[in-house]
């Protein structure tokens, strides 16, 4: 029972991190119709900028809070300088240009921070475990990720469903041309959405940093999974991104935690242990394929 709870929490924590990444990506894809491969680079930049600011302020919380406006600015600059020129182009041009951005950011990091990678320590006040249930200790830092992730998800839900900006974002996601025709300042809206996406990506990057490590190309690995999430959830849908991220998070953990035991019932222990990680990686894509057959626009996607 405790074991199951711990694994579910692990899945929730992973899902929330991926939701933060997917939220920005699904908005830029849905509203601006931009395939932004460089979204993973913003995740990486968030972690590196946080590393610098944490060292500078000597406080994890201060450094993290300062990272958010810094990456918002970075997002706006990327939008104004590069992304804006791509909206009218077709997806292939966008893939090419944003792939170029990945190379640019990776090289930029190498020049500024060096090739070796950095590590961010877990803040002192979270470097312990808390008892979720008697006999089920859980790392406080991971629990903090869940709280922050859930808070951001709620904030985003409020922003999208209850505010004027959110109304415009939703309108943009369902019909871009219409809101431009209605006289909405679409350039400003695009900058804002892109900047917001960058902030969420950076938040995910900086929160993941103490668990993994800050390194060049850290966003490239997770980017593919993020695309899978927005495709499952439906492009442009925040709700879809959330549901899909949670599903993918749980599937990943189930694959790692329970699959080896299930396989062991009919395979040798060693074979089961080595097959499980490969199969759990595939499960996510099986889910995506299933969803696409059942609902080609994703779980919460707009039907065209």
């Amino acid at each position: 029972m405790e074991y199951l709870l711990l694994q579910i929490l692990n899945g929730v924590q992973l899902g929330l991190l991926m939701f933060l990444l997917a939220a920005g990506l699904t908005l830029t894809f849905g509203i601006m119709d931009l395939v932004n491969l460089a979204h993973g680079s913003l995740y990486m930049m968030g972690a590196y900028i946080a590393w610098t600011l944490i060292a500078w302020t000597d406080s994890f919380v201060m450094g993290a809070l300062l990272t958010l406006p810094a990456t918002f600015l970075l997002g706006v600059v990327v939008e104004r300088v590069v992304a804006r020129r791509l909206y009218a182009r077709d997806h292939l041009d966008q893939v090419l240009a944003t792939f170029g951005l990945i190379l640019f950011f990776n090289e930029l990091v190498r020049v500024i921070w060096g090739p070796a990678g950095k590590s961010i320590a877990v803040p002192k006040f979270l470097a312990h475990t808390i008892e979720i249930m008697p006999g089920a200790p859980y790392p406080a830092y991971r629990f903090a990720i869940i709280l922050v992730g859930a808070a951001v998800a709620l904030l985003l839900a409020w922003l999208v469903t209850r505010t004027r900006v959110g109304m415009l974002i939703r309108a943009g996601a369902s019909n871009r041309r219409m809101i431009a025709a209605l006289g909405v300042n679409i350039e400003l809206l695009f900058s804002l959405v892109f900047g917001l996406g960058a902030v969420f990506a950076a938040l995910a990057g900086l929160m993941a940093a103490p668990l993994t490590s800050v390194k060049i190309g850290m966003g490239d690995d997770i980017l593919i999974l993020t695309f899978v999430i927005i495709v499952i959830g439906g492009i442009g849908s925040i709700k879809g991104a959330f549901v899909a991220a949670m599903l993918v998070g749980q599937i990943d953990i189930i694959g790692r935690a329970f699959l080896p035991d299930m396989l062991k019932t009919f395979l040798s222990p060693s074979a089961a242990a080595s097959a499980a990680p490969s199969i759990s990686q595939v499960l996510v894509y099986v889910l995506m394929a299933g969803v696409l057959i059942w609902r080609p626009t994703g779980l919460f996607g707009q039907k065209n």
Binding site: P115, A116, S119, P139, R142, L211, P269, S270, A273, S274
Partner: protein
């Protein structure tokens, strides 16, 4: 016009080249290719190897068998395909006499054929020791100054068996070396295997699901193989999950001179197995460790020690042949004699060109200056031969 412009110029250039290149050929230096990881999250390992190989060069006075030699470093970027490409370049373009380095088993396996078969070039692995090359696929052009992957975990398993540990949980990444390591520890540890997990390599750095399984399985010990940056992550998360101090951790290749500065006190008291430790009491080792420390302010790692030995092994062959490396057969014969002073003490090759050597148990301690380092606490195996040697048809 074209003929006027290019004709004489080309002829002149060709003539000059021919004149210049002839004397150069006569005293051309011995070339050593070195494939390692010099960028990305595992770059620190490659840097340590480079420092140690450069130190070997310095100790040799820059010469082998009376000839100057150069080491050409190439970055495999931690990827098998890139490693193969770089090996190809070293063999075909630079025409190196020896090639060495290779941290990763998958990089080595990808590069092996290009170097040893197509290129007929002698390869000295300074780290990776996949089981395939020790057994059926053993190769006259392949030598190792490290170990076969199974051996170090076998030493750890043997120690735990003797210590009376009853159950063990095993974790390693899902690639060639990870599989060998798991197989190795199971060869000698006969207690209960409480569970075993392979994790995705190299991108899985989050071990939350596996750590929860360890907690539920309640083993008497946890055995891990997480080299380099992954070892740092594992120890951090092991401690975050509150398992440190509850279940003892035993490791191979996961705590070393490179990872210690980041693992800090989390590594204290964690036992590991290794064929070389910085405090081994032979003169060659004392000189290597002291000079390395003087130069870089840190202890060398076992990756470094193996790289240092690789250069010294090549030098011993070049010395015996007075710098004439034209006959590959003679070079191989001289290499096989292993007529050099290894930093690990006694060193000789088995039939499959893997070393027959001792393995030690090491503990993590603080030295007199308060710097974290490793200390030999026991000898786990003496003159150990790897378990695949009998499958190798070479004599």
């Amino acid at each position: 016009m074209k003929i006027k412009l290019f004709g004489p110029a080309t002829i002149a250039a060709a003539a000059t080249l021919a004149m210049v290149s002839l004397p150069v050929m006569a005293q051309s230096p011995i070339k050593i290719g070195f494939v390692t990881t010099l960028s990305g999250s595992q770059a620190a390992i490659g840097e340590d190897m480079r420092r140690s190989a450069d130190l070997a060069k310095e100790h040799l006075g820059g010469k082998m068998g009376g000839k100057p030699f150069e080491i050409i470093y190439e970055d495999d970027t931690f990827k098998p395909d890139v490693g193969k490409q770089k090996s190809e370049k070293l063999v075909q373009q630079d025409k190196v006499n020896f090639i060495t380095g290779y941290i990763w088993s998958n990089v080595l396996l990808a590069s092996l054929k290009t170097v040893t078969d197509e290129g007929d070039t002698i390869l000295v692995s300074a780290n990776a020791g996949p089981s395939q090359i020790a057994g059926d696929l053993c190769n006259k052009n392949f030598f190792s100054t490290s170990w076969q992957n199974d051996q170090t975990p076998m030493a750890m398993g043997e120690y735990l068996q003797k210590k009376g540990v009853k159950s063990l949980y095993l974790m390693a990444p899902n690639y060639a070396a990870g599989k060998d390591m798991m197989a190795g520890v199971k060869r000698t540890f006969k207690g209960q295997i409480a569970g075993e997990d392979y994790t995705k390599w190299p991108d899985q750095l989050d071990f939350s699901a596996e750590l929860a399984k360890i907690r539920a399985a309640k083993p008497e010990g946890v055995f891990i193989f997480y080299p380099g940056a992954h070892g740092v992550q594992f120890l951090t998360q092991y401690s975050q999950a509150g398992l440190k101090g509850q279940i003892p951790l035993y490791q191979v290749f996961s705590v070393d001179a490179i990872t210690l500065p980041q693992q800090k006190d989390l590594a204290l008291g964690i036992l590991g197995a290794q064929e070389w430790v910085n405090d081994l009491p032979n003169d060659q080792n004392k000189r290597f460790v002291a000079d390395f420390k003087k130069k870089h302010g840190t202890y060398p790692s076992f990756y470094g020690a193996q790289s240092y030995d690789a250069i010294m092994l090549m030098a011993s062959a070049a010395e015996a042949l007075k710098g004439d490396l034209s006959s590959k057969d003679k070079v191989r014969a001289e290499m096989k004699k292993a007529n050099f002073k290894s930093v690990r003490g006694d060193f000789k090759f088995g039939n499959n060109n893997f070393p027959i050597e001792n393995f030690y148990i090491q503990d993590t301690v603080k030295d007199a200056a308060g710097m974290l380092t490793l200390k030999t606490v026991a000898t786990a195996m003496t003159a150990a031969v790897d378990p695949y040697a009998s499958k190798c048809p070479m004599k």
